[in-house]
């Protein structure tokens, strides 16, 4: 296994990366061994070399770990041996031309598609997400925002958040049947509505919202879910300039506390939020690094940035 370039950042003095997003200033390559990863049971198997993370920000807690993922549809390899390691609290943009495998990657992490080989882990190695159902993965703390805004159109904005709200004791049928909203839940929803700026729309049916508002509501629902890892698929597609700026602000607010993966086509948006960028091409990782480096990478320019 070749050692890909490492973009390590300054080691932080605290182990608690939550709230401290990896710094954007890359320093010289350091050894890529991840032996210090604070992940339960992560000790490299003796027979194999330890996994070389492409861009683990620093030896610190891992937020999301995708390991040698391969997916093929009728012989076509949508993903080919993709390994991706994100530090806890990292904001990562994934770019790539159409058909590069970005959405398939999201599908694998959220359990919609089962990969042929490979594994996906959250903060610990306790659960291999590829063996779980969508709901179990969601309950473990993976939230996903779809490419097209997906909200519950017949429910009000408030009810949408209520359905997404993280609940103690799980989402079993009978628990849900007798569930009552408590004060903490109501306050949390108010807080979320405040963040996404839809407070005065709480009783509006979500189906009646403008496109941009739907996008925000969906992000708000993810906030209410309080996931550990957030996957956001093309958040600014079809948005106006001010809406886009507001969204960039929202997304940046999300990172730090959570590990965030953003798939986006809009390069301007990526530039405005990106710290670390991964470029996918034909199911493989073409390049990985800070935005500035990616933009000057000749191979990336060739296949993607083009002009």
């Amino acid at each position: 296994m070749s050692v890909p370039p490492m973009d390590a950042t300054k080691p932080s003095d605290t182990d608690d990366v939550a709230g401290v997003a990896p710094d954007t200033q890359p320093t010289a390559d350091t050894s890529g061994i991840v032996k210090d990863l604070e992940v339960e049971g992560v000790t490299a198997k003796s027979s194999e070399p330890p996994i070389q993370p492409h861009a683990v920000a620093e030896p610190g807690p891992v937020g999301l770990w995708v390991e040698e993922l391969t997916v093929s549809f009728d012989g076509f390899k949508a993903l080919d041996n993709v390994t991706l390691i994100l530090a806890r609290g990292e904001l990562r943009c994934i770019i790539g031309p159409n058909g590069a495998g970005k959405t398939t990657l999201m599908d694998c992490i959220t359990g919609k598609t089962k990969p042929d080989t490979g594994q996906v882990f959250l903060e610990s190695r306790a659960h291999d997400l590829t063996e779980l159902s969508e709901c179990q993965i969601a309950e473990l703390g993976v939230g996903r925002k779809f490419q097209r805004p997906t909200v519950f159109p017949q429910h009000t904005v408030y009810e949408n958040c209520e359905l997404a709200l993280k609940v103690k004791g799980g989402r079993g049928v009978f628990r849900t049947l007798f569930a009552r909203m408590d004060r903490a839940g109501r306050e949390r929803i108010d807080e979320v509505l405040d963040i996404i700026g839809l407070k005065d729309r709480r009783h509006t049916k979500a189906g009646l919202l403008a496109h941009g508002h739907k996008q925000w509501l969906e992000i708000g629902m993810l906030l209410a879910m309080d996931p550990k890892v957030l996957l956001i698929d093309e958040p600014v597609a079809g948005m106006t300039q001010p809406e886009m700026e507001r969204t960039a602000e929202l997304v940046q607010k999300l990172a730090g506390e959570r590990t965030v993966v953003v798939v986006e086509h809009d390069m301007e948006f990526v530039r405005s939020i990106a710290r670390q960028v991964t470029v996918l091409h034909e199911g493989r990782i073409l390049a990985e690094g800070p935005m500035a480096e990616i933009q000057s990478n000749p191979r990336v320019i060739e296949v993607y940035l083009g002009t």
């Binding site: 969601a138 519950f152 017949q154 359905l163 049928v173 849900t176 049947l177 569930a179």
Partner: protein, 377 residues
């Protein structure tokens, strides 16, 4: 206080008032009118009681249908099967409770004597007890619905495919029940019932009691359904209807939710069927005809899906019309039914109850316009 709050989520005060009045009319007023002397203009004759009782049973089935179709978006074209199974469980009790009084004076039901059977099949045991039969009314359809639902929903069968599978299910059951060897009386089904819990079914008092039981059961079904749809679970169900994948990504096992409401709906249908059989005096495989299940769906569509009240009113209205028209113009009924269905589908996609919404919105708009005028110079 919390209970009160929850009850007000079922309905606002006005809604509860309507519910109370409707319940009083069906459970108290109509039986009272039935007791009036024949000379009284509004007297309800004895023969009407089982007829209205039958409509109320159909209303229960329509509410059950609305839970699964209107709220969860699963169009079942096989709910007649659950209705019939509940009916059969009741019919088996009625047959067993008259052992020795049949035409052949045998301890076996008449049709078994006719088929020259010497002993009771194993699955008929226990039905001589009312409590056992009552339990089976819930258990058999509930279990069938649970197993069917679990596998169908787990395999992600949905939409028109699921409708077709449910249709096939009821059709297959009908063919099975048509067989004499199945042991449920073949195409004649179970009939010639004598008594229920010791009371003669010919007695007007029994008929009245059955009617009142149906009316109470209908109100209970309505409240139960209301409880379900106003709960958080109800909101999850409509979410599953509108964006199932999203609910899964929110952490709800949609398969379990669908199986739950499917089974509940089947059991409610079965109770309706069990109350229906002693009032009409017969249960046979024709109740499992695909067309019966389709009619059930039409009641819900005409009344207005996703409102509970709409399908209930749809069932009462269409069955009332059917009773009247099949007597007055026997050949016209199917054309009328088809015409209503097409008309509603084209012009009232929300059903008749959707009209109320349109009217309310129009009034609100008119009020807003009037306000503007008043506020203007």
């Amino acid at each position: 206080m919390r209970a009160r709050e929850r009850l007000l989520q079922f309905h606002d005060k006005k809604g509860w008032l309507f519910f109370g009045v409707a319940t009083l009319i069906t459970t108290v007023l109509i039986p009272l009118l039935n007791g009036m002397p024949k000379s009284f203009p509004l007297a309800v004759p004895d023969y009407m009681m089982p007829l209205i009782g039958k409509f109320l049973c159909f209303g229960m089935a329509a509410i059950a249908m609305d839970l699964i179709w209107g709220y969860t978006g699963i169009l079942s074209l096989g709910h007649g099967l659950f209705f019939a199974l509940g009916g059969y469980a009741m019919g088996m009790y009625l047959m067993r409770s008259m052992a020795g009084e049949g035409v052949y004076r045998s301890s076996l039901p008449d049709f078994m004597v006719f088929l020259d059977w010497k002993t009771l099949p194993w699955y008929w045991h226990g039905f001589e007890h009312f409590w056992f039969a009552a339990a089976m009314v819930l258990v058999v359809p509930g279990l069938l619905a649970f197993v069917f639902g679990w596998f169908a929903f787990r395999s992600r069968i949905k939409g028109v495919y699921l409708s077709i599978v449910t249709q096939a299910l009821t059709y297959a059951a009908m063919l099975l029940f048509f067989q004499n060897a199945t042991g449920f009386g073949g195409n004649n089904g179970l009939t010639d019932f004598k008594r229920l819990l010791g009371h003669s079914l010919q007695d007007p008092a029994t008929k009245k009691a059955l009617y009142v039981t149906s009316a109470i059961a209908l109100s209970g079904t309505y409240l139960l359904a209301r409880f379900v749809v106003t709960s958080k679970l109800g909101r999850v169900l409509t979410a599953v209807r509108d964006a199932e994948l999203k609910t899964r990504f929110c952490g709800y096992e949609s398969t379990r939710y669908k199986t739950f409401v499917w089974t509940l709906s089947a059991m409610l249908c079965a109770v309706a069927g069990a109350l229906y059989v002693p009032q009409v005096g017969i249960i046979n495989p024709s109740e499992m005809q695909p067309s019966n299940s389709i009619e059930l769906a039409i009641w819900a569509a005409v009344g207005g899906r996703g409102t509970l009240l709409g399908p209930l009113l749809g069932a009462l209205f269409l069955n009332g019309a059917k009773s009247f028209l099949t007597a007055a113009f026997p050949s016209a009924w199917l054309y009328v039914l088809g015409g209503i269905f097409v008309g509603v589908t084209l012009f009232l996609p929300q059903g008749f109850l959707g009209l109320a919404d349109v009217w309310r919105r129009r009034r609100a708009r008119a009020a807003a316009a009037a306000d503007k005028k008043a506020a203007g110079p």
